[in-house]
Amino acid sequence: MSPAPSTDRRWPRLRALWGLVRALSGDDAYERYRAHHVARHAGEPLMSRREFCADAERRRWSGVNRCC
């Protein structure tokens, strides 16, 4: 299930930058969750992308996360 690691090694700096932008914006949150799940909780049910995003949003907005 985990995303096949890219074998393309061109433009390493651009790739690193793109990875940083995705991580900073939370664009890769589901992939990170899935990788973690496969590595640590392989037997348990995996949330779909849709379920995970709904859950993440609910957790994110139930505490103080924006400031003055």
């Binding site: 949150a29 799940h37 103080v64 400031c67």
Partner: protein, 685 residues
């Protein structure tokens, strides 16, 4: 090499500060201030923060953090420090550091700038880093929980009440800031109105069509709101459409209250979350653009270093330099609110304790730098223009002629024609009495951006800046209302259990209505106040925010002393003492006989005028509400100060018990476990 860089920093900072000191009687270039600020932050980070981390907090890079021990792939997740830094900065940086310095510029550029730099390096950054560290050691517990665990039930309760009250005052004053930016401005109002469907569209996109594709959604959303800025200019030139978006302050305030109520009860994915993506992108982009533009244009500051208003007679808000510059600038120097974020989501992402220096201290230094840029944007305007935009009609006169006469009489020459030409260049009908700081900041940003990236676009830049401020003020308003609702439900649950259920719809409706009504009331009074309202609400917000910072620093000091590090306690005790002094000096807001400063004096003065029949009919109509509000504000100030001192005394009680060797609540720190994390295997690398 490191020693060499430190010497360069110290020399650079010293030369820049010397440059500022030597040019006291001539216009100073903004680059001096930027250079001094950057050097001071880097020196603070390089030396003070490192010393605090290793000697005071005893940061242990070998210790497993909650992100590692409790890793669930979701909220507890070891994350690369650059990414935690980004998340944390996006969470703490709100409109506060833009508004506070703009208002404090009435004292001249120097007092606010010095406080932003010194307050951040020795106070705000230390608070954020310490609370982040303490929460990381305690499995990411919140400030309220830490206060309860380490001090006692009173501390925890005080933190909860303090947070709830600060949310109410903050929402009201931010609402007022945007009302003043949007009143009788069809361009601004139509642009802001268009951001709501844009956010909803992004929300639907991210929920229904492409779940979790945050970057795609944000790019679509940002393109739409940029389009809305340009389209707003087109609407402004259509006589009929223009009228459809031309509203006075009161209807706009009502619309904001209704909007926030709806936003608080709608599912987050539909409006709040997508709006947050947009505002975060805009915020980071605009801040970066502003920094580049200031360096490119290196404008001269036209405001003097000090103005005569340090005596307390200022038109933006009453009160002398001490303590009011320290109350007006809370965010950007030290902000208690940050302690809530630093004890929320951030500690659950920290992969190594050593990262608290970058994430806690570093993020706050960057926010402080945003405040410095806001100060530059306010002080590069002609002082006469600055005062004309920011002074309420009740202070300088309701007509342009009266206002420019009053302001020129202070020694800051400005003409009605100059203001008219400026308003025209910015695509506005008038810029007089647009209190609250957002419009003058937008004029400042438009002139910086205009001279770097095209002067003919000044009106577009102005409305871009307004849209940028309003969008993330609305995000703060939405998020604040929702968090306040949870807290209120938590409190109400003690009275009647079903009210505490956060998913029970009647309880959701009831708590949201109560909360929105509370801040809506302050917003309403601010709108009808002929002095602009911001002069009352912003100091109240500042006092509340300092109170929260004092609670956070009390918790930190209490923990340091309890854990046998009393000799280093000054690190948090010194900023705490300063805040206690400043907040207590704000007692003037209650007892001062000066009607520009004291709430009670102002209420008594207005009551006497009302009784004598010397008020105009319009002012007499709103006078009873203003009188009641001033008295309520006096009571709130007394409550904030009382909470502050009770928490400090509670902390002192704990410290005395410790020094006498009496039994104490045991530390709530999680036990040591060796970290197994290999350095590079973190998420995001």
């Amino acid at each position: 090499m490191r020693r060499f860089s430190a010497v360069v920093l110290a020399l650079g900072g010293g030369i820049a500060m010397g440059g500022i000191a030597l040019q006291r009687h001539e216009p100073i270039n903004a680059l001096w201030i930027i250079t001094a600020a950057v050097c001071i932050y880097l020196l603070g980070y390089r030396f003070y923060a490192a010393w605090i981390a290793t000697r005071v907090l005893l940061v242990d890079p070998s210790r497993a953090t909650p992100a590692e021990r409790l890793n669930n792939g979701r909220d507890f997740l070891p994350t690369h420090r650059a990414i935690v830094f980004g998340h944390h900065f996006a969470a703490i940086a709100g409109p506060g550091p833009l508004v506070g310095p703009t208002l404090a510029a009435q004292f001249g550029y120097l007092p606010g700038t010095l406080w932003i730099l010194i307050g951040a390096v020795l106070g705000g950054c230390v608070q954020d880093m310490t609370i982040l560290f303490l929460s990381t050691r305690r499995d990411g517990r919140s400030l309220g929980q830490m206060a309860r665990d380490e001090l006692g039930p009173f501390g925890g309760f005080a933190a909860l009440i303090g947070t709830l009250l600060i949310l109410i005052v903050l929402s009201a004053v931010l609402g007022l800031v945007i009302v003043n930016a949007m009143k009788h401005s069809p361009w601004a109002t139509s642009t802001v109105a268009a951001t709501i469907p844009a956010a909803i569209l992004v929300g639907l996109y991210l929920r229904l069509w492409r779940p979790g594709r945050v970057l795609e959604g944000s790019i679509i959303g940002v393109s739409l709101v940029l389009l809305a800025v340009v389209a707003g200019g087109w609407i402004d030139h259509q006589p009929q459409l223009r009228n459809a978006f031309d509203y006075a302050a009161l209807p706009i305030a009502a619309a904001i209250v209704i909007y926030a109520w709806v936003a608080a009860i709608l599912p987050v994915w539909l409006l709040l979350a997508p709006r947050d993506y947009l505002s975060t992108f805009l915020k980071l982009g605009t801040v970066a653009l502003l920094a580049v533009a200031i360096v490119l244009t290196h404008p001269q500051l036209k405001m003097p270093a000090l103005t005569q208003f340090i005596d307390g007679s200022g038109p933006l808000f009453g009160g002398a330099l001490f303590p009011f510059v320290f109350i007006t600038i809370a965010c950007g120097a030290i902000s208690g609110f940050h302690a809530l974020v630093a004890s929320g989501t951030t500690p659950k992402l920290i992969s190594n304790e050593a990262d608290v220096r970058l994430v806690g201290y570093g993020s706050m230094a960057l926010e402080s730098f945003v405040a410095i840029m806001a100060m530059i944007a306010a002080t590069l305007l002609d002082p006469g223009v600055y005062f004309a935009i920011n002074s309420g009609a009740g202070v300088v006169g309701a007509t342009p002629e009266a206002a420019v006469h009053t302001i020129s009489g202070w020694g800051f020459p400005v003409t009605a024609e100059q203001m008219q030409a400026l308003a025209q260049a910015m695509g506005e009908h008038t810029l007089f009495a647009r209190t609250g700081g957002a419009p003058s900041l937008a004029v400042g940003m438009a002139s910086i951006f205009g001279s770097s990236f095209g002067r003919s676009l000044a009106a577009v830049w102005y409305h871009f800046a307004i849209m940028f401020e309003v969008v993330f003020i609305l995000t703060t308003l939405d998020a604040g209302t929702r968090v306040g609702r949870f807290m209120l439900q938590d409190l109400l649950g003690h009275l009647w259990a079903p009210l505490g259920r956060t998913s029970w719809y009647p309880s959701v409706l009831f708590a949201s209505t109560l909360l929105v009504a509370a801040w809506g009331y302050f917003l309403y009074v601010g709108v009808i106040d002929p002095n602009g309202g911001v002069n009352i609400l912003w100091p109240l917000f500042g006092i509340a925010n300092q109170m929260l910072a004092a609670i956070a620093l009390s918790v930190a000091t209490g923990i340091l002393i309890k854990s046998g590090r009393a000799r280093y306690a000054l690190v948090t005790l010194a900023p705490l003492a300063w805040l206690a002094l400043v907040t207590s000096a704000a007692w003037q807001k209650i007892v001062s006989a000066d009607v520009h400063v004291g709430f009670l004096a102002a209420a008594a003065d207005l009551a006497a005028k009302l009784a004598a029949g010397s008020l105009s009919p319009e002012r007499a109509a709103v006078a009873p509400q203003l009188i009641f509000n001033q008295r309520l504000d006096a009571a709130l100030t007394a409550l904030f100060t009382a909470i502050l001192w009770f928490v400090i005394l509670d902390m002192a009680r704990v410290c005395v018990r410790r020094l006498r060797g009496l039994p104490l609540r045991s530390s709530s720190e999680a036990p040591y476990r060796q970290s197994q994390l290999p350095g590079p295997a973190l998420a995001g690398q």
